[in-house]
Symmetry: C2
Subunit: 243 residues, 2 copies
Amino acid sequence: MTVLQSPFARKLGAFVALSDEEMSALDKLHSRRKVFPAGRDMVLQGQIKQSAYILASGWVCSYKLLSDGSRQIVDFQIPGDFLGLRSVLFRTSDHNIEPVTRVEASEVLAKDLLDTFDKTPRLVTAVLWAASRDEAMVVEHLVDIGRRDAKERTAHFLLELGARLKLVGLGSTLGYACPLSQYLLADALGLSAVHVNRVLRELREAGLVTFQHGQVEIHDLDALVRLADFDKAYLDHDGPLLT
Amino acid sequence: MTVLQSPFARKLGAFVALSDEEMSALDKLHSRRKVFPAGRDMVLQGQIKQSAYILASGWVCSYKLLSDGSRQIVDFQIPGDFLGLRSVLFRTSDHNIEPVTRVEASEVLAKDLLDTFDKTPRLVTAVLWAASRDEAMVVEHLVDIGRRDAKERTAHFLLELGARLKLVGLGSTLGYACPLSQYLLADALGLSAVHVNRVLRELREAGLVTFQHGQVEIHDLDALVRLADFDKAYLDHDGPLLT
DNA sequence: CAGGAACACTGATCTGCCTCAGTTACCGGC
DNA sequence: GCCGGTAACTGAGGCAGATCAGTGTTCCTG
């Protein structure tokens, strides 16, 4: 019997060659399909007993709120991404999750996840790999914010998003649809919305990228990669490590 | 037979209750003890077929180098920490690892690690948990650099280090030994060394912390926690999740 | 014991980005 | 067809933190 693979299963399968049994265990996690409207948080910082989710469609962002009211967006998740793993592993969530658009996602109860880990241990290794890839992205954002100026940072961010979307078939080297406002971009890049606006204008006037009307168009990929010092190695890999 | 637990085993055991068998599998990973002098990198960005290491004594830092020569330190590792997991999982390392002091560590070959994962699958869950905790720290650094000013950021950093060291018995709420130079601090905090110096002076003059002669002394913990908006929840947890 | 390498520390100047305070454009609702 | 909300966009002014160019101290080494 051939199973129609979810994007999530495809992603994990790229790292750990999965048996039919493991595949179907993965599919069972998809039984609780839910829909979330844009804007209303799915998970809140400090909440306990949270579920995890596998994103089927739409975009979400995970962010942290500071006591002074400002927020830092840690990352955006796109279809095929797993979110809220830490909320389950630590029993309480250390971040908020907000849908950027309308979102369809499969809820994965903590118990179901841990049971699945127990019964199909190779899946844990696969999830460990996925989590490490996520960590690599967070590290790259850290470098962005710590050592790249606003222009490089923005360029790097747009390139990373493009590369990720391309991997799940939602974009090409020419561009992609992007539902993020300049405010969201600002919160992710550690900049003010005003400055994001100016930087986007500069990038546009330099003929590198345009980001208008929910569409990112890459006009000079090479120059952009050079500006951002972008190396997509951390998103890719060379086929299954575990066979 | 009672096994003398390594700090690493103790850390994992706090999350997943480990059997004797799992414990001894963990101990086997400690067979290749190595010593590294301060300053010479243990792992280089882009290197393939790297080993992982379990830190027994000394401090190391993991950092990324940019093409313009500047660097961003992602995190420091202290005794009991596992390092280089991503280098193994992705076959090639995306960061450098430099010993800050003389370091004793157990080398864990990629093959041995994956074999151990295969034979004692519950250890994978434990490692997944440890990796998630590391990710939570990186996320906190991201927030530091993105949304906290230099003073808050420095305070937060010193508090986090203190909390981590306390967990492995290397410090108290009063202070701890810290072998980091102001240059290293600067590279970690996304600041210039000059500014780190000024910030440390301000914190000292405000009677909050002193960091002199390799010693951090916390004089007003409450005020420091308030300044930094520090919440140690992401470092802690409430006992084994898996029994 | 001179010479050099680290590291801590300082003052002066410059700048990237923030904040404030707007204007303009678009879209959906009544 | 106006009104309120949301997002893009702009100019002026201010400041946190960078950069530059040092000084002083300790410690190591030849």
